[in-house]
């Protein structure tokens, strides 16, 4: 991406959770929720992250924001390695990074009024007067399409889509540069989902926001993203510009995933690539390429050797032994 500033560089990021067992509750293994993930994020773009349940999407998002401590690897945000910063040193950086969650019901405090919810992050930073804070709340409510009267109401008085707007207004309070949306529209009805997607696109233009957009709905991700990363069992199987991933997927998993999505169109039935078997457990992932147990193209090498993410032209990268690197010159 020529001429674009990198906002975030992620290098070999790992997040392992211990698995406890036995009477002594000793650590008997690890869930490798995020396992050696590297990518860049450019200012003003939307990177979509897709993958099946348990593939590590949420863990990746939470680790990038340092809501979870990484097991290993670097997270370089605007040139600073934040992967090991103390809580105190993280505080000034936190206001630049915000998260919007899937469940608009669980993520808002039911005992606080909408005004208080949106105002709260400003109180922590202590830079604005009461009047300035109130004006800002009203301004933000209008930006996300709610009336100023919403200030004095409580979350339960709003519908799911409206609650998601409140969550977005709150995320915008501190003028962040970077927003991670973890399934931000998944809980919404389709007619309301498109309202929120349109809003997120408008706000991105208005505030020059960079998005990491996590979702399992491949149609939604295609619509909103500039680039897309595909995760499988804690690893990035493929990443690239949206039109490359959707029109010319390279990884057999991406191909199968895309062919499985039912499309609301009766005139075009697409050929499906059917995957056999179930998603393996991330506490006991297959050796070699993690996808080889379900891969229609698996061969001997896939069972023993972990494939690296390699360049395949125009910013497309794939981790699969079917391809050989073209840019290691």
């Amino acid at each position: 991406m020529l001429g674009k500033e990198k906002l975030l560089e992620v290098r070999n990021l790992k997040k392992y959770f211990p698995v406890k067992g036995g009477v002594l509750q000793r650590t008997i293994g690890h869930v490798k929720a995020v396992d050696d993930v590297s990518f860049d994020l450019y200012e003003g773009e939307t990177l979509g992250i897709v993958g099946e349940s348990g593939s590590g999407k949420s863990t990746l998002g939470r680790t990038l924001l340092r809501l979870l401590d990484p097991t290993d690897g670097q997270i370089i945000f605007q040139g600073n390695d934040i992967s090991k910063l103390s809580n105190r040193k993280m505080r000034p950086i936190r206001k630049d990074m915000q998260m919007v969650f899937q469940d608009p019901f669980a993520s808002l405090n039911p005992r606080m009024s909408v005004g208080e919810i949106i105002e709260e992050p400003m109180l922590v930073q202590r830079t604005l007067t009461r009047k300035e804070r109130k004006d800002k709340v009203i301004d933000l409510l209008e930006k996300v399409g709610l009336s100023p009267e919403a200030r004095t109401k409580y979350p339960h008085e709003f519908s799911g889509g409206q609650r998601q707007r409140i969550g977005i207004a709150r995320a915008l309070t501190m003028n962040p540069k970077f927003i991670i949306g973890d399934e931000p529209v998944s809980a919404l009805d389709v007619s309301v989902q498109s309202q929120v997607l349109n809003l997120m696109e408008d706000l991105q233009d208005d505030f020059n926001l960079t998005y990491l957009f996590i979702a399992h709905d491949l149609g939604v991700v295609k619509h909103i993203s500039d680039r897309v990363g595909v995760m499988y069992l804690g690893k990035l199987a493929e990443i690239g510009p949206k039109h490359k991933i959707y029109d010319n997927p390279l990884h057999p998993y991406t191909q199968a995933l895309l062919s499985s999505v039912p499309v609301p169109d009766v005139e075009r039935k697409r050929e499906k690539i059917k995957l056999q078997g179930e998603l393996p457990s991330p506490s006991n992932p297959p050796k070699g390429c993690v996808f080889h147990t379900r891969c229609p193209e698996a061969h001997e090498r896939c069972r023993v050797e972990i494939p690296e993410l390699i360049h395949q032209g125009e910013e497309q990268y794939v981790a699969c032994h079917l391809y050989t690197s073209e840019s290691d010159i």
Binding site: V190, D265, K269
Partner: protein, 338 residues
């Protein structure tokens, strides 16, 4: 593709045998402060033998309550079927005793839910649960029942069926549980299979397996399917005909081909245009303003009027009827009234 349409229409005409006929069904919930939720409010439809009929609509539109009414499983109080008739192969289900109804549930109707754990019992093995049903409804001996359970599990794609019969629901993944539930629902060769969001909780690669399986099983057992879903992609893939529900009522009914190529109701059109799908590439998604009204506070007149782009004065006065446009298309909207 032309070929496919023809064959679908042909099937549609051949399948004149009606399996299920629902007429004027009303299921209301009586809540505190005299509030009445009209969850299902005058719903009529037929399901033909061998047909897959989809019931689509957003959250709260009344899909699950419609299917629970068919099974007579409405929690009462607060719920009650207050009007209408439900005929399965000529038998009026609403006039049956609870004892006879239980037989219908075991033998004639199989049900698959979104969350398999709600219908699989965590303390019994998979084999035990399937065998139990077979012993009760098919009067099989224990040994035969277990043998049949293994067969059914093989049929729904378990390679290790002999082991799975001895495993407990929690030992299976979501997709495996859903398959076990299909095996259980099919164990008594039901005439009607009701599937309420059978794949919503599953990943797309697993969803494909389950949908294929349901269609395959329907053909093998010559049964009919009532498929409840909010996913218009799934509907396009498996349904012969579609009912679109909004606010407890059917607002459009058509063959799947008609509905996708020629949607009529502004709600259906809005819904189809607001889904970002893999085939389309639009700058900006269409959206329907506002939200779905709660079942105890439907607006006067057409229930969709406050959100409709084409709303007219009369839409606020009286609710339009579901009228036949032509033999395979009905719509509830004043735009199409002569």
């Amino acid at each position: 593709m032309q070929e496919k349409t023809d064959s679908k229409q042909e099937i549609g005409q051949k399948k004149t045998d009606v399996l299920l006929q629902v007429e004027g069904l009303k299921t209301y919930f009586y809540m505190e402060q005299d509030k009445v939720a009209k969850a299902v409010d005058d719903v009529s439809f037929t399901l033909k033998k061998g047909e897959t009929l989809a019931l689509v609509g957003e959250s709260g539109s009344g899909k699950s309550i419609t299917s629970l009414s068919l099974m007579r499983l409405i929690p009462s109080p607060p719920g009650k079927i207050i009007e209408g008739s439900i005929k399965l192969d000529g038998t009026d289900l609403l006039s049956l005793s609870e004892k006879d109804m239980r037989k219908v549930r075991g033998n004639d109707i199989g049900m698959i839910f979104q969350e398999p754990m709600t219908s699989l019992n965590p303390v019994y093995t998979i084999g035990n649960q399937i065998a139990e049903t077979l012993m009760k409804h098919k009067k099989l001996k224990k040994k035969e029942a277990y043998k049949r359970a293994v067969e059914l599990l093989k049929l729904v794609g378990f390679a290790r069926a002999e082991q799975i019969v001895h495993e407990y629901p929690h030992q299976l993944s979501g997709g495996m549980r859903q398959r076990a539930m299909i095996a259980m629902a099919l164990s008594c060769d039901p005439k009607l299979l009701i599937a309420d969001e059978p794949t919503t909780a599953l990943d797309v690669t697993i969803q494909t397996q389950i949908l294929d399986l349901m269609v395959e099983m329907k053909e093998k057992f010559e049964s009919s399917i009532l498929l409840i879903t909010h996913d218009l992609g799934v509907v396009a893939e498996v349904a012969d005909r579609v009912l679109v529900m909004y606010g407890g009522q059917i607002v459009e009914e058509a063959t799947a081909y008609e509905l996708y190529t020629n949607p009529q109701h502004p709600y259906t059109v809005g819904l189809l245009n607001s889904i970002p799908n893999l085939e389309s590439d639009v700058e900006r998604l269409e959206s329907i303003k506002g939200t779905v009204p709660p079942a105890h506070r439907f607006p006067k007149g057409c229930r969709f009027a406050p959100r409709c782009k084409h709303v007219m004065d009369k839409c606020y006065e009286a609710n339009p009827d579901l009228l036949e446009k032509d033999s395979n298309h009905k719509v509830r909207c004043y735009l199409y009234e002569e």
